[in-house]
Symmetry: C2
Subunit: 301 residues, 2 copies
């Protein structure tokens, strides 16, 4: 998750207490009767310094005894849930069942685990991302992404429920009141896409455009990780920072691309954006922090 790596760096350059993270919940899923919010958890664990650094998701040093025992009842698992991680899902599920909103529970969890930043699910309403592969019926995002390891030719992304879902009011307020907004180097269709598709979010960002930066997840013609490159191609977009910039030109003034893509500086400038070419590949926390510093500087934060 490029967003998590970026956040880890951002939290080194910006006081977490002043940071609000709006997180995709389109890939939330029910496993074993538990409400799992993979993106919210990754962000929460990352900011709390508890994330498993090797995997980029889940908790550091977690064990998998419960999951192994669950396989007796459900067969071989395809979605990993650690024992300590389960506690988060149990708590979330119980709180949701007792009537608490997802945003409230997310805040409670973030507070208990620490990290200091505000973490907001994009909506308290259910949006469910489905993926339609060529020759297959549509499937929930996690099934495509984890179970099928993002294989197959994506025909389209369905954001089920997105028309009816209201963006979290606190998220809209956070955007309005922010001194700057950063679109992390995430998948434009399944990570940022669901957030931007919520009614009113894109318009708020358009109003904020001078204070918005976007970071290209495409580096050297491909993604560092994940299927964003293949999705761009499938949906008829150029697989380059320019292709990404076109998706955000109405909502972002500053556009960050990798230094090896500097041939796109001029084409992106012609879109009316302010392009910056730097090293965006976050192989170490220090590199993440340096990238965050550059973005903050460009936004004059």
């Amino acid at each position: 998750m490029g967003a998590a790596k970026f956040l880890r760096g951002l939290a080194r350059r910006f006081p977490p207490r002043r940071l609000t993270v709006i997180v995709n919940t389109g890939d939330d899923e029910n496993f074993y009767g538990l409400h799992v919010s993979p993106d919210v958890d990754t962000v929460t664990y990352t900011l709390a310094g508890m994330v498993n650094p090797a995997a980029g998701w889940g908790l550091k040093d977690d064990t998998f005894a419960a999951l192994e025992a669950l396989s007796r009842f459900y067969g071989k698992p395809w979605f990993n849930l650690g024992d300590r991680d389960l506690a988060t899902h149990l708590y979330r599920t119980e709180r949701l069942r007792s009537g608490a909103s997802l945003s409230r529970v997310t805040a409670e969890i973030a507070k208990r685990l620490g990290g200091g930043a505000g973490i907001l699910p994009m909506s308290d309403d259910r949006v469910h991302t489905w993926v339609k592969l060529r020759g297959r019926a549509a499937m929930p995002f996690q099934e495509y992404f984890v179970r099928n390891r993002a294989r197959g030719n994506v025909e389209r992304i369905e954001l089920r429920g997105v028309e009816k879902a209201r963006p979290l009011p606190a998220a809209l307020t956070a955007i309005r009141q922010a001194s700057a907004v950063i679109l992390a180097p995430s998948n434009p269709f399944v990570s940022l896409g669901p957030i931007l598709a919520l009614k009113g979010v894109r318009r708020e960002l358009q109003k904020m455009r001078p204070r918005v930066a976007a970071i290209s997840p495409i580096v050297g013609g491909r993604t560092v990780k994940g299927p964003a490159d293949r999705m761009m191609r499938a949906f008829g977009h150029e697989v380059s920072p320019l292709g990404v910039a076109r998706l955000y030109r109405d909502i972002a003034r500053v556009f960050i691309m990798d230094i090896r893509d500097r041939q796109y500086l001029e084409p992106v400038r012609e879109l009316g954006m302010e392009p910056i070419a730097v090293d965006t590949v976050m192989t170490t926390p220090a590199k993440s922090a340096r990238l965050a510093g550059i973005v903050l500087d460009a936004l004059r934060v």
Copy 2:
């Protein structure tokens, strides 16, 4: 749990496939949104050879990582749920939520874990055992038994919902068709009590009386474990095999007491029962099996 120790022995002397165990569910409780059936689980794990032999409940070699992580959200836990054990509760909870009956889920779990015996919850309806201590408000059984370590002076046991609950039809059928019925050396009020309080159960056993044996949980004036002795005293019963025998005289022909209580052989015979005095303290599996063999012999099974 005397019942579990006895069952462990019984399963060595009697083919588990022909064994049906009717289990109290009055002390079922909701923990972290999960439906936990402590007695059913202890019986299931025991018969599957998976029980933690030191504790007498829970799974052998289980770990407690999830519980430790849950304490971040819920504070220090007072009810132990192991990581592997959690899988059972997750499965049960999800199946119940999807509309399956407790008896069905119990059978599914027993089948997956193995052991071969039929395990029947006493009812698919909810009966909730509460304990009223002197000077305190009534509390759910697990709170009294585990959280408070069965301390305090019990004034009364409330079997909430027992009037409306129907005994499991399969349990009544099992009693009717059994070649013998054994009342395990369990607490007469909170373990056997809820089962016997269900409409029709006692009458079925009265009809079967010649084929029913009961085993005294009172040995040498006290229980091996648990608060049955104090409850007997509190409720005005003699704390002896005779006191126990009086509770079951209408439903059991054979009455097993410990050899050190043999002075009660005659008084129990005078109740119209057939008393047997043997070593009933099940300190080893072999001793459990020997006791089971004696009971089976007395019932001519």
